[in-house]
Symmetry: C2
Subunit: 337 residues, 2 copies
């Protein structure tokens, strides 16, 4: 049984910055996340991909962003509960009691839901026996390490930004890239779609569009991929010799138990007061991508501000009569500084 001031559900960028902001208000936090690392989607989906719109970071990778935020939160000694989801949330005598999927219990005076789009996972193609290839990394749904694909023959499947971006991004490394999509046209940023088109028509044959085709079967043994059979909408098939399948069919998002906590929701998002993060239930706050209000922007920079606002609102909620000497970080520093 762990007792803290604030339980934060979600260890993505917004949840991590909420730990820091709560810490500046002398509120100690526990953080629960379904993934077994902190950083949320930044860490899980694009650890090596550069991000350009984090304030004062002209360029930073998803992994580095997660690491910096974890470092910034560290002086406040948050207690992490990773690889587990919050399955139960009950209020009793002004305190919140959380239980997790691995059997942990956490008691907190307030809760911040920073769960992004909820616990998430890739949409996996319904192909028989694909699990064996997932275990060895022959089939992947995220690019964790770009270098893994140097000199490899790849089939990249999908028609959105991720498929197009990674095809362009991996083209200089891979020996051969097939890009499979069940339509002729890609739904991606025009500039990137144009780059893919250019690569596929440069005469080198290194990048080849296989459209409109879809996945049919995987061949190989011991978890090593030998080839993939693909079929057109009219029934023609091709067999492509590849080492890896990278499938980008989007993410399935699952709000999980959060949906059952009686919070006001709007299209799977939690409605909040944008200036405080307060939900419809006193003591429960929501910040980041899971929180919504009119004109909401789903940007990491917005989530950071919401985290700060929620931390201050929680302080005022817990200590309504306590006047505060508002301190800038330049005056007080942080505990370890």
């Amino acid at each position: 049984m762990t007792t803290v001031d604030v339980a934060i559900i979600g260890a993505g960028p917004t949840g991590l910055f909420a730990v820091f902001q709560c810490g500046m208000q002398k509120l100690r936090c526990a953080v629960i996340d379904a993934l077994d690392v902190v950083g949320g989607q930044c860490q899980a989906l694009y650890p090596e991909k550069p991000i350009y719109d984090i304030p004062a970071w002209p360029e930073i990778s998803g992994g580095d962003l997660a690491a910096k935020l974890k470092q910034q939160a560290a002086p406040f000694a948050p207690e992490y509960f990773l690889g587990q989801t919050v399955t139960g949330l009950k209020e009793h005598a002004g305190e919140w009691h959380l239980t997790t999927s691995t059997g942990n219990s956490i008691t907190a005076k307030a809760v911040i839901i920073a769960a992004g789009a909820g616990a998430f996972g890739p949409n996996r193609p319904p192909i028989e026996g694909i699990e064996a290839f997932e275990k060895t990394g022959a089939v992947q749904y995220f690019v964790a390490k770009r270098e893994d694909f140097r000199g490899k023959r790849l089939l990249i499947a999908g028609g959105g930004d991720s498929a197009v971006d990674w095809a362009v991004n991996l083209a200089p490394l891979a020996e051969k890239i097939y890009v499979l999509h069940r339509r002729a046209k890609f739904r991606a940023a025009p500039e990137m779609a144009a780059q893919l088109e250019a690569l596929s028509t440069d005469g080198s044959g290194r990048v080849e569009l296989v459209v409109p085709y879809q996945l049919h079967a995987l061949q190989g043994q011991g978890g090593a991929l030998a080839s993939i059979t693909v079929s057109s909408l009219t029934g023609e098939t091709r067999t492509l010799e590849v080492d890896n399948l990278l499938a980008f069919f989007g993410l399935s998002m699952d709000l999980g138990a959060i949906a059952s906590w009686g919070l006001n929701l709007d299209h799977n998002h939690i409605t909040i007061n944008p200036a405080t993060g307060a939900t419809s239930v006193p003591g429960i706050y929501a910040v980041g991508d899971i929180a919504t209000y009119p004109h909401k922007l789903k940007l990491i920079a917005t989530g950071f501000a919401e985290a700060a606002q929620a931390a201050h609102a929680i302080y005022n909620y817990l200590y309504p009569d306590q006047p505060r000497h508002f301190q800038y970080s330049t005056s007080t520093g942080v505990p370890a500084a």
Copy 2:
């Protein structure tokens, strides 16, 4: 005559991030600032002082923060108008015409006011002949370079956070520090006030509190300071031999012409819709410390989010019928990337 999409008044952190966010919406900006460098108070008041609450920066100096934000904005080629204030703002045929104190004219489709507390300057003590000592740096109101005070004898005047912080911060460098305040008690963060108390009673005599005293006269010639006479409230005087006077009597803020533009104001702040930055005048937006709404937090992180929201709101205001492929920076990068 310069024509841009957006005129941004104020080149502090929030104004600079507004340039970036406007750029991501393909809106080109001009930026006007009273100071002759970008970075606002961070650059002018505490360029070397560490800040701890910028998201994903466990520690960064005010100067480095300004430099990073300028670098992040650079790919969008903002046009800077520094060392000048906006003296006139008029709307004509759906466009805004700005004139500056140095005679420049700027035309823009929308305006973002990111002016912090307005054009600001230090409150200067009303002492005869002080100007001559200001010119040589013998009298200073900000610490631009900490190393300038190594081995020096200093009189630090003031009773707030700045005076106390700098007394503690410069104690390891300076030969001697007198801390002058007209009351016995300092109005500073308790932790820092305690540190100052400890330094002044450590027996070394290097830090000496001179309370309750106030400035009376400066002695010296050719702009070099020899000594300062201070007087108690009961008329006693002391003459302290020092090389420098650092006076921290707060800032005088001046909204200047902004107050006359017909915007709804609340205690010298511009009231906005927190989700869009829209003021009471269509086409004019306000972000950062100058903007207010219920529960407003004056944090740089909040200003960043407001800048992003204003940039998106301006795009929708200028192009209400144009659907947008919302692009994450990870997909599109920035022009120079």
